[in-house]
């Protein structure tokens, strides 16, 4: 019973396919006619060599130049509206493929579409002949059809033809779908170039939006929660210092609250540092990294050589790389006693090298955070390399494009 779904599909598609072809027929024939007239005239003028020829020639070329985009637009509209096939707008700079489509396929598809639609109309008319045959004058009927019994054979044959029509329309639609979008739309190279452009733009947008969001969160935390927590800790500190006549229990409560408030400040600071610290925007990568290195739980030697500020998204990624790398070393690098972080700019490349003297064996995808790091590096077209032989040392090299 496989035939049923296919039949159903063919039948549901049939009306739309028919409309598609019925609309295509006049459009293609008009195209063929127009171009025939234009090319014919051009040829006649070139052949004739009249005085006014250049003017008329110019007019005709201009007419072609106007017709081709209009016809292309009409075809694209037909494909989109009736078949749901989206043909991207082709470039104005390369009209030859479109011209080729209109002049080559105009006549061919126009003829085929007309034939199929005509076959359908004729089939329907013939199939219904037992109904309308009686409307004809009876003399005519007897003379030409040898009595109305003929209509029954006529109708049966028509039904057989009609049964084949859906397959024919489907086949023609398939043929058009295969040839037209490639000729009407942009060439593959053009489409790819455009897609790359779009993707690059949208990715840069996404990266920037994420950066802006991190900045906003930092600012909100700084203006709100951080100030409040510092003030809270300060007041608890004051209480601790001034309320000297408290019971030991009350004193202990205040001490605990004070300690917790200070820890909350520290945690919030750590959170902000992992996101996008204010120092990065205000003072740049160099300053932000020294804060990071100084807080690392193991000694870090930092060397930064930057002639000027970098684009903000590159600064953010570079900061994130060093931050994650140091966190990673502190968490995972076995027996690491110190780390080195070097940041240098070579023409349009920012190179970050982070080394530790641990026992090596680091690899992305062991819950190490290196995967996220590599992803964020790739989001700005950077490269990420990790060398971590057993026994160490581990060296991470990240290069980011930083053209201004």
């Amino acid at each position: 019973m496989k035939i049923l779904p296919r039949l159903r599909r063919a039948l549901t598609r049939f009306p739309r396919d028919t409309a598609f072809l019925a609309l295509g027929a006049p459009l293609h024939l008009l195209t063929g006619f127009l171009l025939f007239v234009i090319f014919g005239s051009i040829w006649a003028i070139i052949d004739g060599g009249e005085a006014s020829a250049p003017v008329i020639l110019g007019f005709l070329v201009a007419l072609t130049a106007l017709c081709v985009p209009a016809l292309t637009a009409a075809q694209r509209w037909r494909f989109r509206q009736l078949l749901g096939v989206r043909i991207p707008r082709p470039s104005w700079r390369h009209p030859w493929r479109q011209l080729g489509y209109h002049s080559m396929t105009g006549a061919l598809f126009g003829t085929l579409e007309t034939l199929v639609v005509a076959l359908l109309l004729a089939g329907v008319a013939a199939a219904l002949s037992p109904l309308w045959i009686y409307a004809l004058p009876w003399q005519w009927r007897v003379e030409h059809l040898a009595g109305s019994t003929q209509a029954i054979y006529f109708a049966s044959a028509a039904l057989a033809v009609l049964a084949a029509v859906p397959s024919l329309t489907a086949a023609l639609v398939r043929l058009e779908c295969r040839t037209s979008p490639t000729l009407l739309g942009p060439s593959r190279a053009e489409a790819l170039a455009r897609q790359v452009e779009d993707l690059t733009e949208s990715r840069a947008g996404a990266v920037n939006a994420a950066d802006a969001e991190r900045r906003r969160i930092e600012r909100d935390l700084h203006d709100g929660a951080q100030q409040r927590l510092v003030s809270l800790a300060l007041n608890l500190g004051l209480a601790k210092a001034t309320l000297t006549d408290l019971t030991p229990e009350a004193r202990e409560v205040i001490n605990t609250a004070h300690r917790e408030a200070k820890e909350a400040i520290e945690e919030l600071n750590n959170l902000v540092r992992g996101l996008h610290p204010a120092v990065l925007d205000e003072r740049g990568l160099d300053a932000a990294l020294s804060g990071l290195a100084a807080r690392a739980p193991l000694p870090v030697r930092l060397k930064v050589d930057l002639p000027q500020r970098l684009p903000p998204q590159i600064e953010a990624v570079a900061y994130f790389v060093v931050s994650e790398a140091l966190t990673n070393i502190a968490k995972h690098a076995r027996d690491a006693t110190k780390a080195d972080a070097t940041v240098i700019q070579l023409a349009d490349i920012l190179r970050l090298v982070i080394t530790d003297d641990g026992l090596g064996g680091a690899a992305p995808g062991k819950g190490s955070g290196l995967t996220g790091l590599a992803q964020r590096v790739r989001s700005v077209d950077g490269t990420f390399r990790l060398s971590s032989p057993a026994g160490g040392p581990t060296t991470m090299t990240v290069e980011l494009p930083c053209a201004q």
Binding site: Q227, S231, G237, H258, E266, A287, R295, R301
Partner: protein, 215 residues
């Protein structure tokens, strides 16, 4: 002794006023931006100015610039800067001329009221108060150095020295005897080839000079 406070967060400013008064200062004026601060300094000639680094209108380093201007117009006013984060170059700039009566602390240090009050008094009396984070950040900048020869304890002592503490202060902080501190300091000065100096702030200067600040 009189103090002027510049801090844009009202919440925090209220707390700072309390703490400064507790330290025995009279708060002559409290302001929320650098311009008002300079006006207040002109008017009151305070002994101490407590300044937030990030203030309106641009929220960047207004406090540092105001401090430098106060330093040149009113050299006798001690300056204590509070900052959200440590930028060691601010310290470099502030300490470039001299280290007496200068402090640079992380904002969150105000929570430890007693230590903060001590820092306030030290700075007002011509001493120094540098956040441990400043020293830590300066250390990461050093290429391979004699610093590696210091023991962990000596590093701690060095950091406290750079903060501007006296031998007694360091001894109290590390819970050791003063003579032990003196021994550590001698060892540090020897290892780092630093000249011996007695006054606390001269010692700070030597350490910072070694770390590359104000060189």
């Amino acid at each position: 002794m009189r103090a002027v406070i510049a801090e844009d967060s009202v919440l925090l400013r209220t707390g700072l006023v309390k703490i400064v008064e507790m330290a025995g200062f009279e708060v002559a004026a409290e302001t929320g931006n650098a311009q008002d601060l300079l006006t207040a300094i002109e008017e009151h000639h305070p002994d101490l100015a407590l300044i937030d680094v990030r203030m309106p209108p641009d929220y960047t380093d207004e406090g540092v610039r105001a401090a430098l201007s106060i330093r040149s117009t009113h050299p006798s006013t001690a300056l204590l800067l509070l900052s959200q984060y440590v930028e060691e170059r601010y310290a470099t700039t502030l300490l470039a001329t001299n280290t007496s009566g200068v402090g640079y602390l992380l904002k969150q240090r105000v929570a430890d009221v007693e230590e903060f009050i001590e820092a306030l008094r030290r700075v007002a009396n011509g001493g120094t108060a540098l956040d441990p984070q400043v020293v830590a950040q300066l250390l990461v900048r050093r290429p391979s150095t004699p610093m590696d020869r210091l023991t962990a304890r000596e590093r701690e002592v060095l950091t406290l020295m750079a903060e501007g503490r006296s031998n007694a202060g360091i001894a109290a902080q590390l819970v050791v005897s003063e003579s032990a501190v003196a021994k550590h300091i001698n060892s540090i000065l020897a290892k780092l080839d630093l000249p011996k100096a007695d006054a606390d702030h001269r010692r700070v200067l030597a350490v910072l000079h070694f770390l590359g600040v104000g060189a």
